[in-house]
Subunit: 344 residues, 2 copies
């Protein structure tokens, strides 16, 4: 019955303002800085001398996500947290987001509800207020654009550009898991399309979760504050360790030296990589979407930082003219290269 | 030669980071509050006790714009200024924007350059810093998402919700011009498609400009400050006078009474409406995209405000239970109804 009703429950029945009301009527602003959210021309935010951090991400169907294997709720969640991750990577705390969406006629109200449920659930978990946005129609598919605003004290902000030679290169959690999760989803999709066999995803919960429902590392920011460690530079790992470390090098005008054996990889990532004949370190270097924090700290912090089990020290910064290198087991010293759009 | 070169100059040749560099290398931050723009995970903005205003807009090809008759430069300009208009409608001044774009393979680098030229030209004109964004590919067409941030002192912010019964309803400039400009473009497109006859747009420069290259009313905000008039409520006319005035009524819990004969319409709008058998007041009420400011002021401001030739007093607010009405020449009193997505 419900699904029959849902089919008739077209977006066009609501109209633009009806849809906005429908999507936003339950929002309760949590931060005292959120003076005004949805319901006016713009969101109003009073930070009283704090630094404002603003970031935005645009996701389009078929490029950034595939609705065949991405539940809309997970998509919404991920779209929100990747922006929180960008804010955290400035050593700031996410406070508000603006959500824009364009949808084609194939989407029903309940599908959009699912999407926003995911976004709001991420907001709830990380204490962020949905403070505005825009909804409209599109000729094809779904486009989602999220802007996040965050705050920090002036001396807390950490840029990509502050690393110095000899600083330690640190990374939280482990890398390559989200990429191997994606490879698994794509393999099972191909099998399903050719044989109609149901996907076999057992035993790979962790890498699937890393791909479908990543969690930004607010806990690491918290931990660094408790340890009174302020990174000299920081970035979140969205394009892959290689690209993101090169961003830090380029912005800081330094080189780097990392060690293949120090790169943290989860056993499940390693197992799936083995099944697929992929080098797990390649997944870590080039896979992306890990949303771990990559940061540098002065050498003097070594004892403090190396004791934390969620942090791996993977190398150190060097002078710019010494290059951007990785020491590997089989090939010795190799040069790090960026990936980005071009893929593998 | 140049266009031959442009064809080969595909976006894919640049790669993601190359494109970002290409698009942003000439940006110079103008405001001292723009601590950090493009080049890190997020833009950093220090307003030191000022109110932050944030707004966002998502435009998709085929829905919000038609590249058959919208030059990309104008599209970029308009996409930026509609956000400035939202900031101004809060009685705040636009300071930064974040620009996100998804493009399909049919776009060349020089097309994207044109688009950004328009965006940057709007930023230059209105003193706004492009402070960040996101670029990616899409399977079909162009999607543009712009977020604008603005600032105001705490007591300067004007909401939609502050109107009181007896307040005067004021509107800047004139209404319906952008809509009649769009009708003209669509008529000429139909003629061109069926007869290959070149468009005849002579004598309609003004309404075309209002459609293709609207200007937000920063001058009106300036004028109100000089006259020491703080509106009790304000909105920009993006959906049409009717919808936007109803927003003020609903948020302020008031009714309204406006007079058909007081609604400002440009002679060129009137002429084109006549040619097309459209009531120009209908274009003003329901057309939208005028980006004029609609605001209310206390009755005591009548002398001050009514002397300004760019402002028309079109009616007054009434108690909520007295309804939302317009006095017309032919039908007497009629009820105002919202439009929005549903069109005409």
């Amino acid at each position: 019955m419900a699904s029959e009703k849902d089919k008739k429950n077209q977006l066009s029945d609501l109209g633009e303002f009806g849809l906005i009301r429908h999507l936003t009527s339950d929002i309760k602003l949590k931060n005292s800085s959120s003076v005004r959210g949805v319901g006016d021309d713009a969101a109003v935010i009073d930070y009283k001398g704090k630094m404002i951090v603003a970031t935005t991400d645009l996701l389009t169907e078929g490029i950034h996500f595939n609705l065949v294997y991405t539940p809309l709720k997970h998509l919404g969640y991920k779209a929100a947290v990747v922006n929180f991750s960008d804010v955290l990577a400035m050593n700031a705390l996410p406070r508000q987001i603006l959500i824009s969406m364009a949808v084609s006629a194939k989407f029903t109200t309940s599908m959009i509800d699912e999407l926003y449920e995911g976004i709001y659930s991420a907001c709830d978990r990380y204490g962020v207020d949905p403070a505005g946005g825009d909804t409209s129609s599109s000729l094809t598919g779904l486009t989602l654009s999220i802007t996040a605003l965050g705050e920090a004290d002036m001396d807390e902000i950490v840029y990509r550009s502050g690393a110095q030679p000899n600083d330690l290169i640190c990374v939280s959690g482990n890398l390559g898991a989200a990429y191997m999760g994606l490879q698994l989803l794509e393999r099972e999709k191909r099998i399903f399309e050719t044989t109609s066999q149901q996907p076999v995803l057992d035993g790979y919960q962790y890498i699937l979760q890393r791909q479908l429902k990543p969690e930004p590392r607010g806990d690491i920011i918290q931990m660094l504050r408790e340890l009174k460690i302020k990174p000299s530079s920081m970035i979140d790992v969205s394009d892959g360790l290689s690209s993101d470390l090169l961003h830090i090098c380029n912005e800081s005008r330094t080189g780097c030296m990392i060690y293949e054996t120090k790169i943290p990889v989860d056993p499940e990532t390693r197992k799936m990589a083995g099944e697929m004949n992929i080098n797990p370190v390649t997944a870590a270097l080039n896979g992306g979407e890990d949303y771990e924090l990559l940061f540098t700290v002065p050498l003097s912090m070594y004892e403090k930082i190396s004791q934390h089990h969620e942090i791996s020290v993977i190398g150190h910064m060097v002078n710019e003219h010494d290059g951007k290198k990785m020491i590997t087991l089989r090939q010795g010293e190799v040069e790090l290269v960026a990936q980005g759009w071009r893929g593998f």
